[in-house]
């Protein structure tokens, strides 16, 4: 993965010194609350319901073992000994002291980490597929492009005060979209043109929140060298013409919709024509320089360990389940991609303790070339595990709480921290997740149900991506009481769409039963090959509605 050179180190150190100075001025009363707000947000610091929250950036989800160990130490020294993996693959601390934040940022900078632009009305952490570089069907590794975007967007002087936050995601797989690019402000899908040249299809104006939208394509093919100039044109048009009078209408999706995607695309094209040959135009040399950090690790020449794994599956049913659900195919023979699930019932989805962070670091060193990855579904990945060591790894992680074999099932849910932690939330989300996990505790039943994305957000900001869950749950406030609205049929894949609201909202206690009824309708109606989403698309909303509100 990317390693800082002297320039990156200098910028990181200067950033820490700057924020130390800003924090001192804020604590001395020289900056008002309102003036300090964007400065601290762009350094990841929120002031939350019960305590401050620090969102540490994990660029496109990649972590080295030394970084995991440092994160563990920070959660121990400055927090309560646990952290939370977010839906933008970042890591949040829930209880730091404001005056400690400059020191925390200093500790992070020592291991080439930071909290830059993890919040605020600026360009946020660029995300991608957690299987980048190790899956079979990608056109190119998207991570070098993510790193190039990271550097371009870091402290961009023109775009530090956009109308609203701005999120970019890159996907390179033709068949899957684990980065959910079509619900991003800019979604970049790697494609090849007829001449075989590499580039991007550009989606702009997708998003969740109050006005969920699937991002329309504004350019079918953007050559890779034009990536940064084109991004600059898009964000400039947004900075100039995006609405600033109403926070809820300030995202780029509202501008794209108001102008129409075609007119927006014309405006971008006109702007881009002016800057496309500027020095910001990428060079092959730069792309190759960054790509050199993402070359393959020293894989052993192996063959697939098919017989061994069959034998081990046969002898151990638990291992068999785990292998089926939590282990994915790797592009190299003899290797596998392992997802460490952070979805054990009784633990908030995505939470990890300091000890677990260290365990993941040790596992990364022992089994996966010292690297791990955070996922937007709030799990962790060891991307390069030898197949002949999977059984040994599985035995090791079973006692650590990472082997819950529920990946992609109903209980592998995405869930924001909700009203237990977040000042913005209308309702708690964690107790709902917990109650549903307890209701559906039979793994064989979960497997029988097949892949189901259940996503929970505690408010309209949609950090839990409820709009694109096959089943989405949204916390709402009704006259001071917490209620939950259910939507069905969302998807964040290539066939992205926004779920439809089922009807009036429910009290928290009712939620496990509501989900049970929805599942019953699916089970009664499905054909043999159908997933939940297939059945929903065939039968529509009504059968679910009739049962749930009967």
């Amino acid at each position: 993965m990317y390693v800082y050179d002297e320039h990156d180190r200098k910028i990181a150190a200067e950033r820490v010194a700057q924020f130390r100075d800003q924090t001192e001025r804020a604590l001395a009363g020289e900056l008002s609350e309102e003036e300090f707000l964007p400065l601290r947000l762009q350094n990841g610091l929120y002031v939350q319901r019960v305590a401050p929250m620090l969102r540490i950036c994990v660029p496109y989800g990649m972590l080295r073992s030394e970084q995991l160990r440092r994160l563990a130490r920070i959660t121990r020294d400055y927090d309560k000994g646990y952290a939370h993996v977010t839906t933008r693959t970042n890591i949040q601390l829930n209880w730091p002291r404001i005056e400690d934040v400059p020191d925390i940022l200093g500790e992070l900078a020592e291991v080439e980490m930071h909290a830059n632009q993890t919040s605020g009305n600026c360009i946020r952490n660029t995300t991608t597929d957690q299987f980048s570089g190790v899956q079979k069907d990608e056109l190119a590794d998207p991570r070098p492009y993510c790193e190039i975007i990271r550097q371009w967007s870091t402290f961009h002087p023109e775009f530090a005060f956009l109308p609203r936050k701005f999120k970019i995601a890159v996907n390179a797989s033709e068949h899957t979209d684990r980065a959910a690019i079509q619900v991003h402000d800019i979604g970049l899908q790697m494609v090849r043109n007829e001449q075989g040249e590499l580039g991007f299809r550009v989606h702009v104006g997708g998003g969740l929140g109050r006005t969920p939208m699937v991002g329309p394509t504004i350019r079918e093919f953007l050559p890779e060298l034009d990536l940064l100039t084109y991004l600059e044109a898009v964000v400039r048009v947004y900075n100039r013409y995006g609405r600033r009078d109403n926070k809820f209408k300030a995202r780029i999706k509202i501008l794209v919709k108001a102008l129409s995607p075609a007119t927006f695309a014309e405006k971008v094209e006109a702007e881009w024509q002016q800057i496309k040959d500027s020095p910001t135009r990428l060079t092959n040399e730069e792309i190759n320089r960054v790509k050199a950090y993402f070359t393959e690790p020293a894989y052993d020449a192996l063959e697939d360990a098919t017989d061994l794994l069959s034998q081990q599956r046969f002898e151990n049913r638990e291992f068999d389940r785990w292998l089926t659900h939590n282990v994915a195919e790797h592009k190299k023979p003899g290797y596998a991609i392992v997802t460490l699930t952070l979805k054990k019932t009784g633990t908030p989805p995505g939470d990890v303790t300091d000890r677990q962070l260290e365990q993941i670091a040790d596992l990364a060193d022992e089994y996966s070339f010292g690297e791990a990855r955070a996922t937007h579904e709030q799990n962790m990945v060891l991307a390069d595990v030898r197949q002949d060591r999977l059984f040994e790894l599985w035995e090791a992680i079973t006692g650590m709480g990472f082997a819950t074999a529920n990946l992609n099932t109903l209980t592998d849910m995405i869930c924001c921290p909700g009203g237990d932690y977040c000042a913005l939330a209308n309702a708690k989300s964690l107790p709902v997740a917990d109650a549903i996990q307890r209701q559906f505790d039979d793994l064989d039943y979960l497997y029988d149900l097949g892949p189901i994305d259940l996503n929970i957000s505690g408010c309209m900001n949609a950090c839990g991506h409820h709009h694109v869950g096959h089943i989405g749950i949204l916390g709402v406030d009704k006259k001071g009481a917490e209620f939950y609205q259910v939507s069905l049929g969302g998807s964040s894949q290539h066939d992205a769409n926004i779920g439809k609201i089922l009807g009036p909202s429910f009290a928290r206690e009712a939620m496990p039963n509501v989900v049970s009824k929805i599942i019953d309708v699916f089970v009664e109606n499905r054909t043999e090959e159908e997933t939940f989403l297939d059945t929903y698309r065939r039968v529509g909303l009504n059968p679910f509605k009739e049962r749930v509100y009967a």
Binding site: D21, R25, N239
Partner: protein, 168 residues
């Protein structure tokens, strides 16, 4: 008479005044014997009268389009851009366009809700003078302009991005 911060952080004093947009039906009230910044569209409306004058400059508000003065910017001794609220980032784009697209070579001033921590961005976007909001400590301007000695992306202050400098 405002204290004006230069791009190197030094402080000087000058007597340019910002003339507010007159209410509908009123005429522009330019003070006698003092250099004045007037709304850009009104300068254009009185072009014959104003062009070439060393004591008349213009100011753009954040929603104004700098394209308005395309081809004429270098007839102006001073252009100011108003930041009505510090979180309104449109002025940064206006600054870059005036410099990079329309080739403005004269002094460009940030006015309005100008705070210490925005100065670095203004400088990078081509502003070379700043009128800090009156309640802020002007002695800290030099430090806040210079937190960073290196930047990743190209802007007005350095049109070569780091990746091209790394390569050389």
């Amino acid at each position: 008479m405002p204290d004006v911060i230069a791009a190197d952080g030094t402080i000087r004093n000058d007597n340019w005044v910002v003339v507010a947009r007159p209410a509908e039906g009123d005429s522009l009230d330019i003070p006698e014997g003092q250099p004045a910044l007037i709304p850009a569209d009104l300068w254009l409306a009185g072009y014959e009268h104003f062009t070439g004058r060393a004591d008349i400059g213009v100011w753009f508000d954040s929603h104004d389009e700098p394209e308005l003065l395309q081809g004429k910017v270098n007839e102006l001794p001073l252009i100011a851009v108003n930041f009505p609220r510090f979180v309104d980032g449109r002025g940064y784009s206006i600054g870059r366009l005036l410099r990079e697209r329309f080739g403005y070579a004269g002094e460009m001033r940030a006015i309005g809700d100008v705070l210490l921590d925005q100065l670095q961005f203004m400088k990078r976007c081509g502003f070379d003078s700043y009128v800090l909001r009156a309640d802020k400590d002007i002695t800290k301007a030099a430090r806040c302009l210079n937190f960073f000695s290196e930047t990743y992306q190209a802007a007005v202050d350095n049109d070569v991005p780091l990746f091209r400098r790394r390569a050389s």
